[in-house]
């Protein structure tokens, strides 16, 4: 049905390495598998990527990409192109009946490279990822390649891959399972999900139209044009609009897909004079759940294969992108022998905590949008009734708590503050962006942090700090006046956002999360914190030395 987009078809390439052994195999060439392959390839790792299909995401799925995902895509070289292609938005409005009761600005301050969100159809993003993977020359993209058996062993995983030309065997030292919500790898290992399913159904109608709505997220509870349910409106690229109608559990999904019926619902919303064309229609129900563990020896789960949430909050795909951000540098360090295998256990610890936050938020939103009993409904409606008149009730309105990056507060990789520190970014927090000048040109702080290694953010000119030892983090100096060899924090926003005075040092991991911070640089403390953030214990150090 889509008229604004034609799926590319990727050819099957005959296999020449049946029985071969590969360091990293990614199962699933969806949003998350593609991002994973790109991340590892940009670190210089070769990756085999297997996908059962021959194209990118079909039809309409994710559309909202959060600031943190854009920053990660920025590191992967795609951020600016996505920003240009997508629809930028920061504001959400909530209506009850025919009245606006609440609005929120997700990025109320200036001085960030990326907005709170862009909307862009998932297939556009995936197509860009396929091109970027190809450009690295290190990702072996294998379409029409379905993983049909997995046999885990102590030093890797034996795979059977089905193709149009028959089956073949592969051995993966590390298997990254990004094969989506119905993950074959998960089922083959006999792993079950913990969490819940919601008894409600939603109709997704994507329409092409020229409409006067602003680029904002609009959410209605019980609007006159859809009594008894909620409706969500989003603008996407190419004049496509996402309209999401709550249908209720008693609805008949087959009947609801009927284009005439969908068109009538849309017309009731837009009015008879607005012309539109249906681009995509589907009916969904949702789950909020995750695997008990994401790491199973040499197999690591990520994306929807590991966890799923309701889409209110756009936490599904965005969480998967953060899984990649977390896993990429760790697996790379293990493959290069720079960190022990145990570092990968921290992927499990950190991403489970982060995804539990997503599950909690999405569950609460879904409970608000779909009250489970008469009392829940009374409280929900009471909040909406109060919110129009009284400001206090507005923060209680929950039409979706939109994706924010997790603060990995309890991570075993963090080094706690050694002195009281008010404000700024505690260990585990993702780095904040800030406008800076480099060599007199306007630039962004995040572009200088993390990526291929650890970064030490030093507040002051290079001359104020002793020379750093080789093998340690890459120093980035920040100064309030233009200084050679330093980024110029002209507006003082970097110092303010990190609450860092002269002499302060902040250690950032390759995924731009804060590992540790000190009011005053201390070389031994930095080295210790970096070892800790690499999962290196004292015995590891002795073993590596010996």
């Amino acid at each position: 049905m889509p008229a604004t987009y034609t799926n590319p078809r990727y050819p099957f390439a005959p296999v020449r390495d049946a029985g071969a052994r590969h360091k990293v195999v990614v199962v699933g060439g969806g949003l998350v598998g593609l991002t994973m392959a790109l991340d590892l390839a940009r670190r210089g790792q070769k990756v085999v990527l297997l996908d059962e299909d021959d194209t990118v995401s079909f039809g309409s799925r994710a559309i909202c990409w959060a600031k943190r995902s854009l920053e990660i895509f920025g590191r992967l070289g795609l951020g600016e192109a996505l920003l240009a292609r997508g629809v930028t938005w920061n504001t959400g409005r909530v209506f009850f009946g025919d009245r606006q009761v609440y609005h929120f600005d997700l990025l109320p301050e200036a001085g960030h490279q990326y907005p709170a969100f862009i909307n862009l159809q998932q297939y556009h993003l995936e197509e860009a990822l396929v091109e970027a993977c190809r450009a690295t020359g290190l990702v072996d993209l294998r379409w029409h390649s379905r993983v049909a058996a997995v046999a885990p062993g102590p030093d890797g995983v034996a795979l059977t891959v089905e193709t149009p030309e028959g089956s073949y065997a592969l051995h993966a030292d590390w298997l990254l399972a990004a094969d989506g919500a119905r993950s074959f790898v998960r089922r083959a290992l006999g792993l079950s999900f913990i969490g819940q399913e919601f008894r409600d159904r939603f109709l997704i109608a994507d329409v092409v139209m020229r409409a006067g709505f602003p680029a904002e997220r609009w959410f209605w509870f019980e609007p006159p044009f859809h009594p008894g349910g909620s409706v969500l409106l989003h603008r996407q690229a190419d004049d496509v609009w996402r309209i999401d109608f709550q249908l209720g559990w008693d609805s008949d999904p087959e009947a609801e897909r009927d284009p005439a019926r969908v068109a009538a619902r849309v017309r009731a919303m837009l009015g008879p004079e607005v012309e539109f064309a249906l681009e995509w229609v589907s009916v969904y129900s949702f789950r909020c759940r995750r695997l008990e563990r994401f790491r199973h020896g040499r197999i690591l789960f990520l994306g929807d294969a590991a966890h799923q949430v309701s889409p209110f909050g756009a936490r599904g795909g965005n969480a998967g992108v953060q899984d990649v951000d977390n896993l990429g540098w760790k697996l790379d360090a293990v493959l290069r022998g720079a960190a022990p295998d145990a570092l990968l256990d921290s992927y499990d610890a950190e991403r489970i905590a982060a995804n539990d936050e997503n599950i909690l938020n999405s569950t609460r939103s879904t409970d608000f949008i779909t009250p489970k009993n008469a009392a829940a409904r009374a409280y929900r409606d009471a909040v909406l009734e109060l919110a129009g008149r009284y400001a206090f009730a507005r923060p209680l309105v929950n039409s979706g708590r939109l994706s924010r990056p997790a603060v990995l507060a309890d991570s075993p990789l963090n080094t706690p503050d050694d002195a009281p520190w008010t404000g700024g970014l505690p260990p585990g927090a993702p780095a904040a962006d800030a406008p800076v000048r480099s060599d007199g040109q306007p630039d962004w702080l995040l572009r200088h942090l993390g990526g291929d290694g650890f970064t030490l953010l030093l507040f002051g000119p290079p001359g104020d700090f002793p020379a750093l030892a080789a093998g340690g983090p890459r120093p980035v100096f920040l100064t309030r006046t233009a200084t050679p060899g330093a980024l110029h924090d002209a507006e003082g926003l970097a110092a303010a956002r990190y609450a860092a005075g002269p002499g302060a040092a902040i250690l950032l991991r390759p995924d731009q999360h804060v590992a540790a911070r000190w009011r005053h640089f201390d070389a031994a403390a930095v080295a210790h914190a970096q070892r800790c953030a690499c999962g290196i214990t004292i015995t590891d150090t002795q073993r590596m030395a010996g």
Partner: protein
């Protein structure tokens, strides 16, 4: 940390009870439920202390037995 006061503290117990009854007089069950919910939310915000509300929830559940 403040604790939920379960000792007599009302300036006008009969008046309070009557005010609640009056508020519900001409409402059906669903409307009554929403009214109670609005009252609870207003009072909870005035308290500004979720821990205290949790204590009240626990105390109210005990009251049933």
């Amino acid at each position: 940390m403040s604790r939920l006061n379960t000792e007599p503290n009302l300036d006008d117990p009969d008046g309070l009870f009557a005010a609640l009854m009056d508020a519900h007089r001409d409402l059906d069950d669903a409307a009554s439920r929403r009214l109670d919910a609005r009252i609870i939310l207003l009072l909870a915000n005035h308290l500004g202390n979720t821990a205290l509300v949790r204590e009240a929830i626990a105390a109210a559940r005990l009251g049933e037995a």
